[in-house]
């Protein structure tokens, strides 16, 4: 048998007190004659009444004494935590989760929330005894655990905490809390706890509480939160920066939209500065109401094609990290589109099957200041044409193409070109299948094999509609909104029945189920097959209002998708980029703080290079640079807008979590944790109370000797 507090055994000496008193006062009654018992009897009557009350008190005291004896033996612990209820001897296993999200970078009265949190984390780790096990995690987006296993190595954990940095990410409580719970849950012989050191922002807790039922988590694990910062500080932020137009061309006016938020209790005048590639382009003063967001836009013209860095910044405040927002924007020179129309038949009028496509892409036949510059040629005019000069090729109702053209087409497509093929009455399915697919082997051009023609464009008695539109595809995405029209209203009188290749996707079907438009990624390029004509012979779509946006969207999606464009991403998220190996050369990544790192990459098949960037914790502009071709692509990392809202959540709304408030000058976190983990050991108090009760009981029962000498 062992005792946690063996010195309490000294309390056994206290037994001597009642024993002594008992023996001292317990004597056999003595006989005594007395003149008259009149007064004695009256006194006895009176005292007996008083004694009755005293006896009740005595009985209560004795019952309490017994209760305390039992309690003291049962080693009572008083504590709200599960650890306190556990065996006091049990070692501890705990996870310290340190919030290093962007909101923790706030500075209030010169004190950085993150630095305070870090010191609290170190204090917690300091409490590890040699039998304890712990690990450290970070609460940001995506959260992670420093060690995926619990460790005894206190110094290693302290180093992780000391080396930790603030991230530009949001707060994803689940991403680190759930693994922490999973890690602790199987342990049976430990006191288990998760310490979460966070700034308690409502924006981070609310989604977490809505999604997860913390009350149902493992009850044997204590969830302890160490809130940082007593109250929310005022904050202003740039919460959005975007370009809504699908493609940005050089020389064209582009609208850049921004959103500025004022999360404080009074209206604020905010100066917003817009810059392109570090050069200040525009600035304005905005009055933003208290606790509201304001949208503003800047009309800018991009002079430089390729990747452009745009940024909007506002005046600095307590949380500087969200006062600037970046975006990476690829700006295109006007796209050249080569339309290959059917050959003119001698003696017949000029073939104008390309009319509707041309008109849709460049109605005024402009040679500049238009998104698309179109050029129409017939198949026999393609001999000396360098396809690579064109962003896309559109084949319209071709009968035959020379082997040389087919070979160059194949190279163009596999090297990143875009091919759109419209079929028609001149199309011979067998020739197409043989020459555009079979003979080219793996470098085939068409995403589907052609079969028979369906319908009758001459009688037009029966028509088909486009159904099952793939609204998730960029080509049809615009039609998701009803006001943008409905391509399924177009009538298709005749089309080719096709069988899509295994890796092709069907963008829409005919009303009876045959594929209507099929797309397949070919090498670095894309090939799209439209199973009907590009003019009004087989369909009335070219004269419907949805024709133009369809063509525009399709081309933009094809052109932009092949660029290694990366949308603005969240901090800490890995970024995957696919590049053509021949473009790559020697690659480097330039981080926002101008440091350069080499990317990890692996070679895919067909000359494709997959690049992964994992160091995306900093907010700002990242560039992937090739030593041969300069900036290949770029992307921007911004903190999530929600992270700028610093309002605190009320602790009462959070179930299970025990708050461990840090009050300067009072009990330290270490002491508090100790109390929380071990609870209040009541055995000592019980014993002290027991001794006091014993003395009180003896006093009441016998009265102290001092008074007896009166």
């Amino acid at each position: 048998m062992t005792f946690i507090s063996p010195w309490f055994l000294l309390g056994l000496l206290g037994i001597a007190i009642p024993v002594y008193l008992h023996l001292y006062y317990r004597k056999t009654p003595v006989q005594k004659e007395f003149p008259s018992l009149r007064l004695i009897k009256l006194s006895v009557e009176f005292v007996a009444r008083r004694k009755k009350i005293r006896n009740i008190i005595l009985m209560t005291l004795r019952i309490l004494t017994v209760v305390l004896v039992v309690m003291a033996m049962a080693r009572p612990f008083l504590g709200s935590s599960a650890s306190a209820a556990a065996d006091a001897q049990a070692p501890s296993a705990f996870v310290v989760l340190l919030d290093n999200s962007m909101s923790m970078s706030s500075v209030d009265k010169g004190i950085s929330a993150f630095n305070s949190a870090r010191s609290k984390a170190l204090e917690l780790i300091d409490q590890m005894t040699e039998n304890d096990r712990a690990t450290v995690g970070f609460v940001n987006e995506p959260g992670r655990l420093g060690y995926s296993q619990l460790t005894w190595d206190k110094e290693a954990l302290k180093k992780i905490i000391s080396d930790s940095k603030i991230s530009a990410g949001g707060t994803d409580l689940a991403s680190s809390l759930l693994p922490a719970l999973k890690l602790l849950s199987p342990l049976k012989t430990h006191k288990k706890a998760v310490f979460l050191i966070t700034d308690m922002t409502e924006s981070s807790w609310r989604p977490f509480l809505e999604r997860y039922d913390i009350a149902e988590t493992d009850k044997s694990i204590d969830l302890i939160v160490v809130p940082m910062g007593a109250q929310a500080v005022d904050n202003t932020a740039v919460t959005d920066l975007r370009v809504e137009s699908p493609i940005v061309m050089t020389g064209k006016k582009t609208l850049v939209k921004a959103q500025i938020a004022n999360y404080s209790k009074q209206a604020k005048k905010i100066r917003a500065v817009f810059a392109i590639n570090g050069e200040r382009k525009s600035e304005r003063d905005l009055e933003v109401e208290a606790n509201s967001e304001k949208e503003t836009d800047f009309e800018v013209v991009f002079a430089q094609s390729g990747m452009n860095r745009i940024a909007l910044s506002i005046n600095s405040d307590a949380l500087p990290a969200d006062n600037e927002r970046h975006a990476a924007l690829r700006v295109f020179d006007p796209c050249k589109i080569l339309i290959v129309k059917p050959e003119n038949v001698p003696g017949a009028p000029e073939n104008k099957e390309d009319l509707f496509v041309k008109f849709a892409l460049n109605p005024l036949a402009k040679s500049k200041d238009n998104s698309f510059i179109t050029e129409s040629r017939s198949a026999n005019e393609l001999n000396n044409v360098d396809f690579k000069r064109y962003a896309a090729l559109i084949l319209i109702n071709q009968r035959h193409l020379s082997a040389d053209v087919l070979k160059r087409l194949s190279e163009y497509l596999m090297g990143g070109g875009n091919l759109i093929t419209f079929l028609g009455d001149r199309t011979e399915p067998e020739w197409y299948n043989e020459n555009l697919t079979d003979n080219l082997g793996s470098s085939y051009l068409l995403p589907a094999r052609l079969f028979k023609r369906v319908g009758n464009a001459v009688s037009k008695s029966v028509y088909y509609r486009l159904t099952d539109l793939d609204l998730g595809h960029p080509a049809f995405n615009i039609f998701e909104k009803e006001e943008n029209g409905d391509p399924s209203r177009a009538r298709i009188y005749e089309f080719f029945q096709v069988k899509p290749n295994s890796s092709a996707i069907v963008l829409c079907r005919m009303s009876h189920g045959f594929p209507g438009i099929v797309e397949e990624k070919r090498g670095a390029g894309k090939s799209l097959l439209v199973t009907f004509s590009a003019d009004t012979k087989w369909t009335n779509w070219p004269v419907r209002p949805t024709w133009l946006p369809f063509l525009h969207q399709t081309l933009i999606s094809m052109i932009t998708s092949k660029e290694a464009t990366v949308k603005n991403i969240k901090s800490g998220m890995p970024v995957s980029i696919t590049l053509m190996q021949k473009d790559a050369g020697k690659l480097k990544i330039v981080l926002p703080d101008e440091t350069e790192i080499s990317p990890s990459s692996n070679n895919g098949h067909k000359g494709v290079l997959h690049l992964t960037v994992t160091n995306t914790e900093q907010a700002g502009y990242y560039e992937i640079v090739s030593d041969r071709l300069g900036v290949l692509t770029a992307f921007a990392v911004n903190p999530p807008a929600a992270e700028s809202r610093l309002e605190k959540i009320n602790m009462r709304e959070i179930p299970r979590f025990i708050p461990l408030k840090d009050e300067p000058g009072k009990r330290t976190v270490k002491d508090k944790v100790s109390v929380l983990r071990n609870g209040y050991d009541l055995s000592g108090i019980s014993l002290i109370m027991l001794v006091l009760l014993a003395i009180a009981e003896n006093f009441l029962a016998n009265k102290p000797a001092k008074k007896r000498t009166e």
Binding site: K27, T28, P29, V30, Q31, K32, E33, F34, P35, S36, L37, R38, L39, I40, K41, L42, S43, V44, F46, V47, K51, K703, R708, E710
Partner: protein
């Protein structure tokens, strides 16, 4: 003195020698046949002139001062004061409780008897008459007041012979004494007053109303005043022989409160009625108790004999 010292164990020659200068004086007038130290309530002749008062029917015609009548044509009676001897009654409680000896050498009865014998001696010496009444449940023995030293032996003998027994019934005893003692005099009562206080006080007041002068010696043993018992004790009543077992310690506070209350009640109530109350603690020398008796009586004389 040496002669009287051999009379009784209650007469201590040394004590009497110390008290020899003392006189037992009555605070009020007393009736007596022999001229003595005390004022007589009987206004008469050949004695010192006191005052004139108007004649009222019933007055003896012999007392009318005719000379004054001749001058004023009104009947006046000439009153005189004469000195008489004192009739003292020693009334002794001889109930069982008086036999209590406590931790001292003498029992309450012995102590009271010493005081009584000494006072009797002093009174007889100054030509006063002294009688004795012993009582317990009722009056046990009455010795009529007589003058002369030989009577002291009778009183002392009776005190020595009386054995304390039975319960106390002061009320009844005082009633009986009041009936027997018609002549006004000084009643010196020795008792531990183990009876109903209200009854005792009312009976004493009745006696007082009959113009008796009353001195009450409340005889208590030291044990009764301080209750020096701590243990669980079986107390046995000396009067009715009943027993009670109790924790003396827990009782002590309440007992002392009650005894104090009893003493204070007697003291204040009797003083208001003009009755002398003297607490006779048996642990204190009889001389001190007697001196306090005389001191008190001297002070009354200083105030003009009331």
């Amino acid at each position: 003195m040496s002669k009287s010292g051999s009379i009784s164990k209650y007469l201590d020659p040394e004590l009497l020698a110390k008290l020899s200068a003392m006189e037992v004086k009555s605070r009020a007038a007393v009736e007596g046949m022999i001229e003595g130290l005390h004022k007589s309530p009987v206004k008469g002749f050949n004695v010192e002139f006191s005052e004139y008062r108007q004649y009222v029917p019933g007055d003896s015609l012999r007392d009318i001062d005719w000379k004054v009548y001749a001058r004023t044509d009104k009947y006046y009676i000439k009153e005189h004061e004469e000195e008489t001897n004192l009739s003292g009654y020693v009334i002794m409680d001889t109930s069982g409780s008086m036999s209590y000896k406590g931790s001292g050498k003498t029992s309450k009865l012995d102590y009271a008897a010493t005081l009584a014998a000494s006072l009797s001696y002093l009174m007889l010496r100054q030509q006063d008459s002294v009688g004795l009444v012993t009582f317990a449940e009722g009056v046990r023995r009455i010795i009529r007041p007589k003058t002369g030293m030989p009577h002291l032996k009778v009183i002392c003998n009776e005190l020595e012979m009386t054995k304390p027994e039975n319960t106390t019934s002061i009320g009844e005893s005082l009633d009986a004494v009041g009936q027997i003692m018609r002549k006004r005099g000084v009643f010196i009562i020795f008792s531990d007053l183990m009876d109903n206080a209200e009854l005792v006080i009312s009976k004493l007041r009745q006696l007082k109303k009959r113009r008796h002068e009353i001195v009450l010696y409340h005889v208590l043993d030291r044990d009764e005043i301080s209750f020096p018992f701590d243990d669980t004790t079986v107390f046995k009543d000396l009067e009715d022989k009943s027993e009670i077992i109790t924790d003396a310690f827990t009782l002590k506070h309440e007992y002392l409160r009650r005894i104090r209350h009893m003493v204070n009640t007697y003291k204040s109530a009797l003083r208001k009625s003009g009755i002398d109350y003297l607490l006779a603690d048996t642990s204190i020398s009889p001389e001190i108790n007697l001196r306090s008796f005389f001191t008190r009586r001297q002070s009354y004389n200083l105030w003009g004999d009331r």
